[in-house]
């Protein structure tokens, strides 16, 4: 996925996560994560963010995320929304529920 501009998705409300993605030309993914449940779930949230970016073939980006207790599916949704906004594209490959 080609990122063309900085974009964000999500809110600071409870149960949500605000994700900002900034395009980079090299250096892989850098992640700045703060979370209200950092100690317990920080590692898991980071895993989901990196996994989602990997699935979207985002290789280089500066990502910052402020988590307010989001579930995995919310993290996935917000990262995807931010990435597609960043690429100025619409998703046309929705996966089927297994």
């Amino acid at each position: 996925m080609d990122l063309v501009k900085t974009a964000m998705a999500g809110t600071m409300e409870s149960g949500d996560i605000m994700v900002t993605i900034e395009p980079r030309t090299a250096g892989g993914i850098t992640l700045d994560l703060t979370s209200s449940v950092m100690q317990q779930y920080g590692r898991r949230i980071e895993e989901v963010i990196r996994e989602t970016l990997g699935e979207l073939a985002v290789e280089n980006a500066a990502v910052s995320a402020v988590d307010k207790g989001a579930l995995d599916c919310t993290v996935r949704a917000r990262v995807s929304a931010a990435a597609f906004r960043c690429a100025q594209a619409e998703n046309d490959h929705w996966e089927v529920r297994k």
Partner: protein, 300 residues
């Protein structure tokens, strides 16, 4: 036989609107006891957030466990260009029923069904698996209610969307008299098609008395249930639809009298000196089914 994601005939006393871009509300939606959950991609989502809501509802449907609840998603209307994108996101995710807003004619239902069928086929989902419901929100739609209700075998019901409708009529919502014609049309159209009739929301969540009056009215008219916008409305709504002890006792007595007459080989049954005819039996059966369904839901 093809496995459908929806059942035509099920308990639909309450259909709770859940804003599609609010992850906290989506995650908690299940706990309030509504019979059906309706994730909204239309009016409760700002135009600039439509894409984000689509991702959120898609991922929530694929991941969260909503138990036995019916999962409905209200899409944007197809003419806006957003509706098709909504369908692309939610059909693969496993939505049970698509709620089509602003349905003015049978053609609106047919157009939407065509898109649903295309998306199902593209994703290897059996064509016909997804259900539909149509919300009627204009004077033209109300007058076309009968054709709308019969426009697709996928329809589980038709619903009234009152806010747009009263605006179209050049009036406002008041004591319900302004909705009497629309409600009667929608109810009769639904019944003639053998599908559910669902009433509109009651927006003033702090007016419990007004809400109960409206619920009593729609129950008496014959509606299956109502959309709700606040979890607080669910319990009083369900309570109104639960048969009273007295009515339930009478219903069981009727069914006992029928069983007894059958055992005797008699085609005629009576209770307390009154003959029991077929409509009485059907009403008693429905009442018992409603009470049993209520118990089942409580146990879930």
């Amino acid at each position: 036989m093809m496995e459908k994601r929806y059942a035509k005939d099920r308990l639909r006393r309450s259909m709770m609107f859940v804003p599609g871009n609010n992850p906290g509300m989506i995650a908690d939606a299940r706990i309030y006891g509504a019979d059906c959950l309706m994730f909204d991609l239309e009016d409760s989502v700002a135009y600039t957030e439509k894409d984000a809501a689509r991702f959120l509802v898609h991922n929530a449907l694929k991941t969260l466990d909503f138990g036995k609840k019916e999962i409905v998603v209200r899409i944007n209307d197809l003419s806006s260009g957003l509706g098709i994108r909504d369908l692309e996101a939610i059909i693969p995710a496993g939505v049970h029923v698509v709620r089509l807003p602003k349905t003015d004619s049978a053609q609106d239902v047919i157009d939407c069904e065509k898109e649903i069928a295309r998306i199902e086929a593209e994703h290897g989902i059996p064509v016909g698996a997804t259900g539909m419901m149509a919300a009627i929100e204009s004077a033209g739609g109300v007058l076309n209610a009968r054709e709308i209700a019969q426009a697709s075998g996928r329809l589980i019901g038709i619903a009234l969307g009152a806010e747009d409708y009263v605006t179209d009529l050049k009036t406002t919502r008041s004591d319900g008299i302004e909705l009497l014609f629309a409600r009667s049309m929608i109810l009769n159209a639904a019944r003639s098609a053998g599908i559910a009739a669902l009433d509109t929301v009651y927006s003033d969540v702090n007016n419990e008395e007004g809400f109960l009056e409206e619920v009593n009215l729609i129950r008496k008219l014959g509606f299956d249930g109502k959309s709700v916008i606040n979890p607080r409305q669910i319990e009083p709504l369900h309570h109104t639809f639960v048969p009273s002890e007295k009515d339930l006792k009478k219903a069981y007595a009727i069914m006992d009298a029928i069983a007894e007459a059958n055992a005797r080989g008699s085609g005629v049954a009576s209770l307390n000196g009154k003959m029991i005819d077929k409509p009485v039996v059907i009403r008693a059966q429905r009442l018992i089914a409603l009470a049993e369904a209520d118990n089942t839901v409580e146990e879930e």
